[in-house]
Amino acid sequence: MNRFAELLDRLVLTPSRNGKLTLLIDYFRSVEDPDRGLALAAITGDLSIAAVKPAMLRALVVERMDPVLFGYSYDYVGDLAETVSLVWPQSPGHIPNREPTLGEVVAKLQAASRSDGPKVLARLLDSAGISARFAIIKLVTGGLRIGVSARLAKQALAEFGKVDVAEIEELWHGLTPPYTTLFAWLEGKAEKPQRTASALFRPVMLSNPIGDGDLEKLDPADYAAEWKWDGIRVQAVCEDGVRRLYSRTGDDVSGAFPDLAEAMHFSAALDGELLVGEPSATGTFSDLQQRLNRKTVTPKMQQQYPAFMRCYDALQIGGEDLRALPFRERRLRLETFVGALDPSRFDLSPLVAFEDWQALEQLRQAPPHPIIEGVMLKRWDSLYLAGRPKGPWFKWKRDPHTVDAVLMYAQRGHGKRSSFYSDYTFGVWSGPEGAEELVPVGKAYFGFTDEELKQIDKYVRDNTVERFGPVRSVRADRKNGLVLEVAFEGLNRSTRHKSGVAMRFPRISRLRWDKPAAEADRIETLQALLDA
């Protein structure tokens, strides 16, 4: 249990992706079955343990200590799981010879009934030290919140076993904790596990961005063009009566989109974009947002913002795997197939006809729908290859929006940037003339060069008004302030931000040392984009 607890403690404080990978790989290497597989399941959210409510946890602890002292403690720490793990009194007569393993903890928790759950939990906490207690409480209260996605965990597995992550994603849904066959294969001790389950995920094919000078080398006749829809890439798979909707990284998202999942009456694996509205009246990105990051969706939500799938590829139809066919061939099969599906839930991503790159450029600049974020180019003869092969598929995105904003706060970075103020919160002007004030509209921590980072860092240090821990507020008024040109992909309405807007993918595109702060943009400029 202690090694798992230590892993959680390290992961939560390690900001860099590579650092997290190293910690995970070391853990998989040094911990044996079944503990490492159970830890993996806990991280990917595939471990099922009956939950214990926070109120129950609190009740357990105040049976064991003075409630006033507990109150002072909780006030100070602010996190219930952490407070309980720290103050839990260990009865001196009950120091165990050794702490339980993760396997033992999980077995006991899984065997517990709803009524004896609290008692089982209390006994486990009695037998564990502080870090292990924290880990146990995190397991039973659900949600580790350690900043590791299922995707990153799979990446760590791939590096641990020196295999492609696509192979792990493809197998994943046929495996169950503690994944002993998977680890045995990754360690070279056994054959690759067989795909036994139905409707498994197929690793998706990704595109490369069009770079400077790329187009000149390409022949327009070799490529088909489609609009690039700004929805969610999904894969709809139905096989032997099993229906699954996957995200592009192989997470099962059927539960979040039951309306679409239930409409999947076919035998095939289709690739496409999940959008909201109806095929004839596609919703905007803010409509789509209503359906994102929700564990459960109400019938009303499904009615107001129905999900549908705009299909652009067929990986399998019936029993036939189409991935080794050229795109031209797959496209024909897809057109016939989608034509027979429920038209309110499935339609075809239309091809965009063009003569030459210049003509396509004009179409790209003026797309027919706001949710289009550019065009896709696919070689007519491209096979469906997992990963991001260079050449067959390109994305050619619309140019980003930009706004001139004023630097308001700067926060220190981590790792290589721990001595630099590298995360910037910026704002634009709002309020009546003569009484303008800055309202924060976003935060960005990349887009600048190392040299520019040094310059901004110096500016921040020289113009600090106040400090709050790792954050400094920077002098920013009508006469003083650093103007940053910020590029972003789009704007959403936000009730969480004072400004009412939230930027998508903001980054610093230029430092405007030359521009007086008073000439930065106003909030109305951004609001106009919202209404567009």
Binding site: L13, L23, Y72, G415, G469, P470
Partner: protein
Amino acid sequence: MAVGRVSSLLQQASRAGISPYLGGMRASDLLHPRPEGLYCPPGDFFIDPVRPVNRALITHGHSDHARSGHRSVLATRQTLDIMELRYGEGFAETVQAATLGETMALNGVSITFHPSGHVLGSAQIAVEHLGMRVVASGDYKRQKDATCAAFEPVRCDVFITEATFGLPVFRHPPDTDEIARLLKSAAQFPERSHLVGAYALGKAQRVMRLLRDAGYEKPIYIHGALAKLSEYYQSQGIDLGQLDPATVDSGGKEDFAGAIVVGPPSAFADRWARRFPDPISCFASGWMRIRQRAKQGGVELPLIISDHADWDELTATIKETGAAEIWVTHGREEALVRWCELEGIAARPLHLVGYEDEGD
């Protein structure tokens, strides 16, 4: 605050039923807070005064307890040496060294210094007069520490305890476990350097010594602010092994790959830290027990190593002194006062000003 505060404290104490008389005199007549610090009227001296006074008794060399500008200073030899290192030779007009365990008289009041286990030279001060003994703990800890003499419990009527970590959430793990985590991380990330933030007096040397005791033999790189004090520790027979200045002269960025660097915590936010390759920031402090504290400070590897007593040490020590009354100072007084209440021990907060709550 001054006199008004003191008398109101006394009123509170008598209302609360705390017997102000123990032995031949009232404890609060022997020692009580004044704006300058804790004052002893019959002996006419202050303990750890925060403003210049005529006669000061100093528990240890941390700058919030040991200030310059007093006319005469009484402290252990090591504390006097440390004050001289920090403030220069003329930090007081006259100095007098106190020997641990030896009683001396000041205007008829008996004074004895006892080790407190906090940092090199640190002491508790026992003040005794007309049958009443009050012990001012200064700062203390009970965990073993190879860089200073161990805390010695002293039986007394009133024990004045610090309460930096006076909450049941503060429970320090064995320091050897923490150092083992540092060494494990150094092995996991050999291409990066580990920057350990540690206060210049005491903590830094303890961390270095713990590394040596764990078998770490490579040079330890130190920030300039640590040099004089570390050298002093070595001169006092505390072996810290090879310490090299973490200057750019001693190597390029790659030369610090895999290195362990110790410096004051403030230095790591500074431009000074840019000479190290992709550093992992570590902080050796009791505050690192709280995840949010580590997170807010951008600490990647918190090391829970403290020179202050944790909750269990505070409560065990209070019992060991056998004191009938506890005065709780700098830190989280309320929880410790509450605990004393539950244990049937008279207790009250002693509001001393000028000490850093954050210090560890």
